[in-house]
């Protein structure tokens, strides 16, 4: 093992740690690539587009999910070699806690704004996080090579919207590399070096962790004080578990082992942690014998906010689904799952997600990487239900909501949503927020054309296609971020769907009493489209308790017969009937009614009005 990487300096004064804050598609990953190229870390030969985004899925969505950092040697114009630690941050609202932990490992942030788009809500949210973390922010105006670039307008917007001096904003084109040298100089000049006593007791912050098939859990850490060295016995604060440090090092961009990570350094730690959940983002690592140690501030054991049932289409795939979830959770500590049984869908799992994007990603990975055919029920949130005897229970599955009359109060999770949009779309977006039971907290013009809305919204309303509607009502121009804002009591009811009088548990939904009728009616009519006609009439009803609030009828099938069947037809027609029979086996029987898998997505297709 080399004592140290000869190219990387070790002094704090010559270290700069920073991250890139940007809205999706504003060019964060491309800029990271350019920086690595400019510092010689990434040669033409091993250049891959957007090196930091490891997974295909991320590349497709243009979102970085797994924070991944690199250390780059940079020869500045003053002749000094610096160690630049670029710390990658996830770029979506679902991951804001992880963003905040990444920021805590930095002294500075590059605020990347698209010269053609301007400041977006998500950028604002992350800038606030960066300001809270006392970071030096360098505004970077990207995509100046585009004909529609308007750096002056964007500069104004950065000042007006974010209150950040943009006079010295660096104009770059991550695509062509223009301005990247000036940016690197600014990083060295303007971002302060880390501080922290290298001789003090060890305090290291876990910025990220992931599963490696050969090494077990790898933790990305920022050493705040003291030093991490192989052979030390360390303790992870949140779990209290102790481990022996096996290896430390940096990514440049491949793993380079080092003899130590000292205060101010950012790098990786391998110490035999077996489960990802034991290396929690934001946790503090101390020496095992440092019994009086206090943890670094800011640790939160994050909890899922969105829940959904996931069932294999073919019940034979249940073990495969369980294996896939176990494997996925190796690399996704925020994914929760526990077995769930549905009368309609059989055996499956209830999954908890950080948010909707997280849910989509997990669902897609299960289907794509593990080749599973799944039915996902409509997403739900976790309600707090106060039962008649005064106990409070958490309910994350509408089917498990206690019966009417057995509880005194239901509270639902509330979020604060910050929405930015061009003012031309204000009318329909305000209407949308009001329809979704939003409470307006703020409405202000950021510029003459740009409005920022702050709404308190029930999370349950947001999980029902809110984001899609926001995008479609604003032709894609509105952006949104949100954060949890506690619980609030609401007049909520469980709407059940009944098929010929039998309740279909997987289709129960919780909704506000005022919208229950409309949602029930929409669900019934969607189901009518999806339930095939049977030999008898099928009544589809939506009900609150015993009260039916909406009803449709699937008329009885009147003809189910093959027109002709002579010698030459027999074999083919028999196979046709046999095929129909096989198809019917995939239907789920509710009472004597056969329901196709697609019907279980019906709740998802409601537009939420």
């Amino acid at each position: 093992m080399p004592d140290s990487d000869p190219k990387l300096p070790v002094e704090q004064a010559r270290t700069r740690s920073f991250c890139i804050i940007a809205h999706i598609d504003h060019g964060k990953s491309t800029l990271a690539d350019r920086l690595m190229e400019a510092t010689g870390l990434l040669g033409e030969r091993d250049k891959r587009d957007q090196y930091l985004d490891r997974m295909d899925l991320e590349r497709e969505r243009g979102i970085t999910i797994k924070a991944q950092s690199v250390s780059m040697p940079y020869a500045a114009r003053d002749g000094t070699i610096y160690r630049l630690n670029l710390i990658d941050t996830p770029g979506h609202v679902d991951f804001s806690y992880e963003v905040s932990r990444s920021l805590a490992a930095c002294e500075g942030a590059l605020l990347v704004v698209d010269a053609t788009q301007g400041v977006e809500a998500q950028t604002v949210a992350n800038v606030y996080l960066a300001l809270e973390a006392n970071l030096e922010i360098i505004p970077v105006i990207n995509k100046i090579d585009l004909p529609s670039a308007d750096p002056d307008r964007v500069r104004e917007e950065i000042e007006e919207v974010l209150g950040i001096d943009a006079l010295e904003a660096i104009e770059v084109s991550a695509k062509t590399g223009q301005g990247v040298d000036a940016l690197l100089e600014a990083v060295v000049d303007r971002i302060p070096p880390p501080s922290g006593d290298r001789d003090a007791p060890l305090r290291a912050l876990i910025v990220d962790s992931w599963w490696d098939a050969y090494r077990g859990v790898i933790s990305q850490v920022r050493v705040m004080q003291g030093a991490l060295r192989p052979g030390q016995t360390v303790r992870f604060f949140a779990t209290g578990r102790t481990y022996e440090v096996q290896q430390v090092g940096v990514f440049a961009p491949e793993a380079v082992p080092l003899s130590e990570l000292a205060a101010g350094d950012v790098g990786f730690l391998v110490c035999g942690v077996k489960a990802l959940a034991d290396s929690k983002v934001g946790d503090t690592i101390v020496l095992a014998d440092d019994t009086g140690a206090e943890p670094l501030p800011g640790f939160v054991d994050i909890q899922p906010m969105v829940f959904a049932g996931v069932f294999p289409t073919d019940s034979k795939d249940y073990p495969a689904l369980r294996d896939a979830l176990e494997k996925l959770s190796l690399n996704d500590a925020s994914l929760r799952f526990e077995p769930e049984t549905s009368e309609a869908l059989g055996f499956g799992f209830r999954l908890g997600f950080l948010g909707l994007l997280h849910m989509e990603i997990v669902q897609e990975r299960l289907e794509r990487e593990y080749d599973l055919d799944l039915i996902t029920t409509a997403p739900s949130v976790e309600y707090r239900v106060t039962t008649n005897d005064g106990t409070v229970v958490a309910v994350d599955n509408p089917a498990k909501m206690p019966e009417l009359g057995s509880y005194t109060k239901i509270e639902e999770p509330i979020i604060t949503a910050r929405i930015q949009l061009p003012e031309g779309y204000l009318g329909p977006i305000l209407e949308l927020c009001e329809k979704r039971r939003g409470v307006q907290k703020d409405l202000r013009y950021l510029t003459a054309q740009r409005v920022q809305l702050v709404y308190e919204l029930p999370l349950a309303e947001v999980v029902f296609g809110f984001y899609d509607q926001l995008k479609s009502l604003s032709r894609g121009y509105a952006s949104m971020d949100y954060e949890a804002a506690g619980y609030r009591a609401a007049d909520l009811v469980r709407v059940d769907l009944l098929v010929n009088g039998e309740k279909v548990d997987a289709l129960s939904m919780i909704t506000h009493r005022d919208t229950a009728f409309y949602r029930g009616r929409d669900l019934c009519s969607k189901m009518k489209e999806l339930v095939p006609r049977q030999q008898f009439e099928v009544a589809i009803q939506a009900a609150i308790g015993r009260r039916v609030i909406a009803r449709t009828t699937v008329k009885a099938l009147r003809k189910d017969v093959t027109a002709k069947c002579y010698g030459g037809d027999i074999s083919r027609k028999r196979k046709l009937i046999e095929k129909q029979k096989k198809g019917k086996r995939r239907l789920k029987a509710v009472g004597n009614v056969e329901i196709p898998q697609s019907a279980f997505h019906a709740v998802l297709k409601l537009d939420g009005t």
Binding site: Q535, K555, L557, R558, K559, D560, V561, T562, A563, K564, C565, Y566, G567, G568, I570, S571, R574, K575, I577, E578, K579, Q580, K581, K582, K584
Partner: protein, 387 residues
Amino acid sequence: MPPADHEGVSLYVHVPVCARACPYCDFDFVVDRRPDVAALLAAYGREVADRGLVGLRPRTVYVGGGTPSALGPDGLAALLSALGAWFDLGGVEERTVEVNPEHADDRLFEALARGGADRVSLGVQSFQDPVLALLGRAHTGAQARRAVVRAKSAGLRTSVDLIVGVPGAPARATCADLRAVTDLGPDHVSVYALTIEPDVPWQALVRRGRRRLPDPDAQADDLARAHARLERAGYEHYEVASYARPGARSIHNLGYWSWRDYVGIGPSAASARHEGGGVVRRSNARGLSAYLAGAAPAVERLGPEAAAREAMWLGLRRLDGFDRAALARRFGQPIAFVDGVLTPLLASGLVVRAGPRARLTPGRWLFHDAAGRAILDPGDAEPVGGG
């Protein structure tokens, strides 16, 4: 004493030519206005010789298509005399030839009668010109009426095919067709609801907005109407799609629903042989050119259980159903097997027992496919290629 339904062999000859293509048809045919009769007969002759069928003594003969009458009076006469040369037709109880109304002149019927045919199946489909236009047929309603009258006066027994439930047909077209049928009084009527298979030209017409797909409810109405009117006019509804005056049931067709052996000659024609409780079914290659080139047939072997299930499904097409003990014997199964398969159908009320027989519950014949799904077992049938 006449032979039981399942006794004897039915002979089918497929004439794979049509003067034009109908957009709903998925039968095996080529469009040829001047078919090469000699080449076709030579190919039939080769097949008969190769399969060792010379001297076969069938119980019924049926010449279908395609459009057999497209061969013309001389062509049909040549075909019928060739059949007489290849096979022993001494015991034939019924000899049917399919005839399209546009070919139905006196010369044709004379040729058929001289050649020994005693029954014609007329491809009428409808007596209404607008419906015939939708179906792309070559004849008119007037020609169809004349065809029935001429066939009867030529001394031939007559069967009329009707297609109902045609989307876009004028209101009450089916009523008018049923009235025409009962006025003309053929011995036998087959009533089919228009069925559009996935790969027929009708689908392309639908995509271009020129046709619609059938409405199953309207078809159910038409089928129920046909049942009521024809029964009232004295026809027995004896199979899902077949009606006959007393004594005029198609002996040939009954063979298919009564597990009789059959031999099919010509492209796409199927043959079935019952042996050891199971069934061996052979289907000739589809397509005239493949057939002429001697392409290998597909062979399917059903074991006794699968064959028995298939037989129950087919047997229930007869509205009088099947004799449970006879079926069990024919397929070497205990009667308990037959009754076991029937149990859920009896429970659901789709099938009833009438003495030794099991049959669709009266009034439920429009749900025969549902019975099929209950009876057939997709796991049983393993197709075997080649041979």
